[in-house]
Symmetry: C2
């Protein structure tokens, strides 16, 4: 998606350890107009899949998921990290590895909100090693719901998460796919990336 | 706001310790159509205040804030809890007491995204003891920005946060104000609440 790629080139900052900082517009300050364009692109890609629910993970996926859900006219559920006293009763749970903070954490979704009849679109801001996406898809599987696929804002295609999950049959649509960030310069995939 | 009050009566569940569970539509599963109506009500209340930025706190404020920002046509910033390696450079920071999880935590906002020229509307899902709202307003003050006020989905008016902050001059508009939740029954404020 050209608009997002241009924005990454303009405002993204490459940091040590293959970190791409996009907190100017994506995951700290959020450009809601841009989110609206991204939502329309996700709709173009998944509009015939009868999505009944959008699933994301706190915190930085929530904004994109909500704006996208407006276009799909469906509710959002966000998987919560770790335990909270405010979720009572039965939950589906899964483990996610955190590369930003180190270690692993549990994500949970209340069983009330994921049903076998649901057709779920996962929305998230980043895909790199694929741990969050894999954890979310496992919640969908545990619920017996149908996973339509995943809509991702930025995929680091030089990390293996996307390829691994695609090879397992998951449909993943990433609006910006980064081939490399060598020497602080972001390069996007052309046809050679996949 | 009648639509929200009706939804609380229909789907809210009162739990021990004055906990109101609204995770069916507000802070786990999110009813984006309802959020749209709430956003329009916030706009009606603050439309003449030249809001340039909406500030919220992760995680459950983000959805309402983003849908509201669409109507105001401005960006959202969400204050992050605790430290993260992905926020580089200078931040404004403040302490918030957590009654759900116990203890206190730091919230941070990058100095890049709150400027003295900003006119800030705080949006959050709950107001009870006022600790989060007080922490957010202190970030705005530290930035030298103008705090327009706060738009809250649900205020527990039987707790002191709202009254205390109003008495300090903060404008707070709560879409549903709960007078009591005794015996598991939610009662809203009439004119007697404030």
């Amino acid at each position: 998606m050209q608009l997002l790629e241009e924005r990454i080139l303009k405002d993204g900052k490459v940091r040590d350890g293959n970190v791409l900082k996009v907190d100017n517009f994506l995951n700290h300050q959020m450009d809601i107009t841009l989110f609206g364009e991204m939502a329309r692109e996700f709709y173009r890609l998944f509009q015939f899949d009868n999505v009944t629910k959008i699933l994301t993970i706190e915190a930085s996926g929530i904004g994109i998921a909500c704006i996208t859900a407006q276009v799909f006219n469906c509710p959002v559920i966000f998987a919560k990290k770790s335990k909270t006293k405010n979720i009572a009763g039965d939950v589906y749970t899964s483990k996610v590895e955190s590369f930003t903070h180190g270690g692993t954490y549990d994500i949970i979704v209340s069983k009330e909100y994921l049903k076998p009849s649901d057709r779920v679109l996962i929305i998230d801001d980043f895909l790199a090693n694929g741990s969050a996406l894999s954890g979310l898809s496992s919640l969908v599987k545990d619920a017996g719901a149908t996973l339509i696929g995943a809509g991702i804002a930025i995929e680091k295609a030089f990390q293996s998460g996307g390829d691994t999950l695609r090879s397992q049959g998951m449909r993943i649509e990433s609006l910006a796919k980064i081939k490399s960030m060598e020497n602080g310069k972001v390069q996007f995939c052309d046809n050679s990336c996949n």
